[in-house]
Symmetry: C2
Subunit: 308 residues, 2 copies
């Protein structure tokens, strides 16, 4: 039994003119609630400090730098780090990162119970497009404002387990979980901001998008025998609706709990990291069952090529 | 619109002493039913011609050769091929293959509407073990009787679409669908024989195993925007129960229909292969979104290696 008590800390909407300080205050309120429930680790969404700004088109990309953090922690987030240290609680959250070299990433960090940043992940599977697209019902300009992550999918041994991170659209790609699984991941921390309308298929129902979310997360958990903590930013931001779907999934792919609303709130579950062992040692004992000699196309070929 | 009308032809149990001729007669009855419903293609399960023999331990492996086919078609299956030609119907089924060189594979074939074998697939992800295991509630000796497939995961352009095959445990491995997806697969034909009891975890409920089956098939379909036709051998064979779960899944991962019983029976659905295009051109446009530079471990490493 290696129990970790994890709190998925969903954020409701953040409006465009909402200040980081106000958001951090909301995050601290959720952290305090998690502390009262005895959580070891609190997990916040992707781009937790601001509205989901890739919906806004800036012709001059530099104008979008206002959404980015040049250091972490920084003045706005220092109180969050301080409170986590005070509680002796680990945490993970996402933010837009502007590096000293001027590079832009959609980033998540993992902070241990002593307040040290022990892990950084930069989003690899950027959805959307990079130029204004008049055909879409709304813009999704992640490919405009971020470059794809350059750190791969690392894992970190901390807080008694093996942790990995991924962000939003990464969860739809089985490669994400598999690269983590091949490093023995036991818990994947995953923040997301998912519009409840498909910008290219308005008829796609909210339920169908929630189904795809759950399907991807549950399959990734099951097929790598890992916990997944999936945390939404939800609700209506300046007229644009983000679906919820915050959930904690066990290594059998079973949803242990979900947040049924679209506001700020936490979901706390005890996760026994030793429960990942049965799957890893039987059906998904990769060493015995995988046949890499037949997987070559996965790394040799980026796009699909159909036969003549 | 590229419509193909497909019949998933589930087989109920086949007892150990049941002759191939009797099984072929059952398969023909299902084919005739599919023909009456106008099917273009009929899909049968894995190891369709015999009982699921890997549950039986033969100390002398050569004794198990009685379950294998030395040619295809052969005397027992010729009537099935003849009837398919007569109906102008494509078909796919699985059988144990013993090659002229003495090699053993768990094989599936794809036969076009003219009766020609246009595709052969040999199962790559063999589950189970290769020696008698007294710890298990029942034996699952696929690793004893078969070698892993040596043909990779090919696809074939036939009957107006791009088809791939996989077998049983292959469906739990996202690599299976991805290698097919990278070749533009539009319909995956998948036969299975799945014991309803986990031989190493008796407490795992039937429902949980059905959940894992559906989860794997639906995720593979969605994440590669392909139809999947999953066909069970079901019911109690000499006291050993195989779960059902025959289903046809669309490129959104949605189950279009399931067979709710464990007997011989068909499930017929119209599949528009053009419905695979939306997913392949948007969320799962691999060329735009995949980042193979970060997938290296998938082919470099077979087993999982956790950090120190």
């Amino acid at each position: 039994m290696r129990k970790i008590r994890v709190a998925a800390a969903q954020l409701g909407p953040i409006q465009r003119d909402e200040k980081r300080e106000a958001v951090v205050a909301r995050m601290i309120a959720l952290m305090d609630e998690a502390a009262r429930e005895g959580a070891d680790l609190v997990v916040y969404p992707e781009l937790a400090l601001t509205t989901f700004f890739p919906r806004w088109y800036h012709e001059d990309r530099a104008e979008a730098d206002v959404w980015f953090e040049r250091a972490m922690p920084n003045e706005a987030t220092a109180p969050l780090f301080a409170r986590a240290r005070e509680h002796g609680m680990g945490m993970s959250f996402g933010y837009a990162e502007l590096t000293p070299e001027g590079r832009h990433f959609n980033t998540a960090i993992l902070v241990d119970k002593a307040g040290a940043i022990v892990g950084t992940y930069r989003k690899i599977h950027l959805p959307g497009h990079d130029e204004f697209d008049p055909e879409r019902t709304h813009q999704h300009l992640e490919k405009r404002y971020f470059e794809p992550g350059d750190l791969g999918f690392p894992v970190w041994r901390t807080m008694g387990g093996v942790f990995g991170m991924c962000i939003c659209n990464d969860r739809r790609w089985p490669e994400t979980y598999r690269v983590l699984g091949l490093q023995g991941v036991e818990m994947v921390l995953l923040g997301f901001n998912t519009p409840s309308v498909n910008s290219q298929k308005g008829a796609e129902a909210h339920d169908q998008r929630m189904f795809h979310h759950r399907l991807s997360v549950q399959a990734g958990a099951y097929q790598n025998s890992t916990f997944v903590v999936a945390v939404a930013k939800a609700g209506t931001e300046d007229g644009h609706h983000l679906m919820g779907g915050t959930c904690i999934v066990d290594p059998d792919g079973v949803i242990l709990g979900e947040i049924p609303h679209e506001d700020d709130g936490i979901l706390v579950r005890d996760c026994d990291l030793d429960a990942t062992r049965f799957g890893k040692e039987t059906v998904f004992d990769f060493a015995r069952h995988r046949r890499v000699e037949h997987y070559g196309l996965i790394t040799q070929r980026t796009g699909a090529v159909a036969p003549e």
